[in-house]
Subunit: 325 residues, 2 copies
């Protein structure tokens, strides 16, 4: 089983076919960065159209039973998520509405301070806000997973503590391996995984040691070390693959509507665009290489199967939708 | 089994308890008259809150299996519908979005000309529009039922013809029994029922012979005659119960935002408000009386069971959601 914990591609039939070639059973896709509710709905409408046009390749995901169906019928399940709480605006009632429309993950922040928590680029991290506490409760109730990939440390640890259900960092790596601002330090990973949460390893070059030049062996050794430290069962893949996107999109991801000045985020004025992917992971056809790389650094087939998909599957089964009595 | 094909009450715990006292297993409720998409979502949020607050009385409906569950657990299932296509605005993609949020009925018009068809109060009926044809196809695809209760005759007959699936008139009576503008003439009822569609009998006084003074016997005799003419299996109840609503609501239903002048609709300047209900149907506790009345005019227990709920159940099973292969 292969599940990718985060992608934001410039979707096309080509990419949907590559998902099938790569044997990817399910993906969590970003459908909103800065979009408000109505704009998010327009993005969902686009997905509905793709589901209608390519029913043999992809299908909409609501629960893990959809992954079972997709595996039986040779398709990839698509679960929706938001990298910002912007789709819910200031309206807690929209959480259940968005869940009904298929949302299964929502980040409480995207780099900046939000109504709910502090993003990883702010100078001060004041933790979970008053509204954030209410939103965590409501997300727990409906079964929308809290994702803290782009949040600041204190906010993330507080979210893990306040949440009655495990939370996720869908796409990031350990800071001690690659000291990027977006990567996560030990207390953060510990807070998330000790409470049953998940960390998805990113192959986005800004999150890799040596960036685009990172070797597969270095990436896989880092995963094996992380597994020893926090337990294999809490780990998965969250590639952050942004395939076929023009550079204007990474600028929009960083800048949205919140600033009139350019913000380069993880890039720089010299390198403002999407960085080149590492040679060993160009697109969805390369999951084989990660799997082989994990085996090559000495992980057992059972451990590797967990990281490639089974751990996400179990996490989805437990955390999508209301708690089953 | 008891199913009501249309209600628009001023919802409260009191009414939810009356639904249970009346043994009502399922209702189709109006969640939009003139609301646009975002306003409709706010109404759905209110319903989600009621489902959360009164889980022992009501539950959200998506399919007939929810009616089975509700009957097993002593609750009333609530299916959503719109009396106007205003929630979909000018965006065909919103049809599937609204379906995902629980919508199961949508009227193509509410009294006036819409983007899709002609309403029953217009002087000229030009039938289904270009967009209306596209919308009918899309509603057929996702399994959102076309309701023509407030549409003009030609538009209704064309909708029945164009639709690949049966359509409904959820709340109206035969024009030959009570010649109200909203009641339906023979060719309209024939077009709908001959293609497997449904007519729900209304107890809204403006649709009754002698209005608020209509007798139960007259109402039930009319149903028996209609059954002889069109076939019992196409008939159900659609009370149009607007319980506990202030008169400001009936004015808003008629006027919305489309006119600056008062439009009295089925009322008049002398009687602008909600008319008093007939003595034999004050609220949801009175379905027993209709059932007894139908038996008293000589309908068989099987026929009566069909009209009180089983016919709607079968229609819902066939027409909610995509066609099952």
């Amino acid at each position: 089983m292969r599940i990718d914990g985060l992608q934001y591609a410039n979707w096309s039939e080509k990419i949907f076919r590559q998902l099938r070639e790569g044997g990817v059973d399910a993906i969590h896709v970003t459908v909103a960065y800065h979009e408000n509710f109505r704009e998010t709905v327009q993005n969902l409408e686009k997905w509905n159209r793709w589901f209608e046009l390519f029913p043999d390749l992809i299908m909409k995901g609501r629960s893990t039973s959809d992954i079972d169906t997709a595996r039986d019928t040779g398709r990839t399940v698509v679960f929706f998520g938001f990298q910002n709480p912007s789709p819910m605006e200031d309206d807690i009632g929209l959480i259940e509405i968005l869940y009904d429309l298929g949302a299964r993950f929502m980040q409480l922040t995207y780099n900046n301070q939000s109504l709910l928590a502090t993003g990883c680029y702010e100078a001060e991290d004041t933790g979970i806000t008053r509204m954030g506490r209410q939103v965590i409760k409501e997300m727990n109730r409906v079964g929308l997973v809290i994702d803290m990939s782009h949040s600041a440390d204190r906010s993330t640890i507080e979210a893990a503590d306040l949440s009655a259900r495990p939370i996720a960092i869908t796409h990031a790596n350990p800071h001690e391996w690659a000291p990027a601002l977006r990567n996560k330090c030990d207390p953060v990973i510990r807070a998330v995984t000790e409470r049953g949460g998940m960390l998805g390893f990113s192959v986005y070059p800004h999150h890799l040691k040596d960036k685009s030049d990172c070797t597969l062996e270095s990436f896989c050794t880092m995963i094996a070390r992380t597994a020893e430290k926090y337990g294999t069962q809490h780990l998965g893949i969250g590639t952050d693959l942004c395939q076929d996107q023009p550079d204007s999109v990474v600028e929009w991801m960083r800048v949205g509507r919140w600033t009139k000045e350019i913000d380069y985020g993880e890039g720089s004025s010299a390198n403002p665009g999407f960085p080149p992917m590492p040679k060993w992971f160009r697109d969805n056809r390369d999951f084989d290489k990660i799997e082989a790389g994990l085996l090559a650094v000495g992980m057992t087939p059972t451990e590797v199967a967990g990281i490639m998909g089974q751990n996400w599957y179990r996490f989805f089964a437990d955390n999508f939708g209301p708690v089953q009595n």
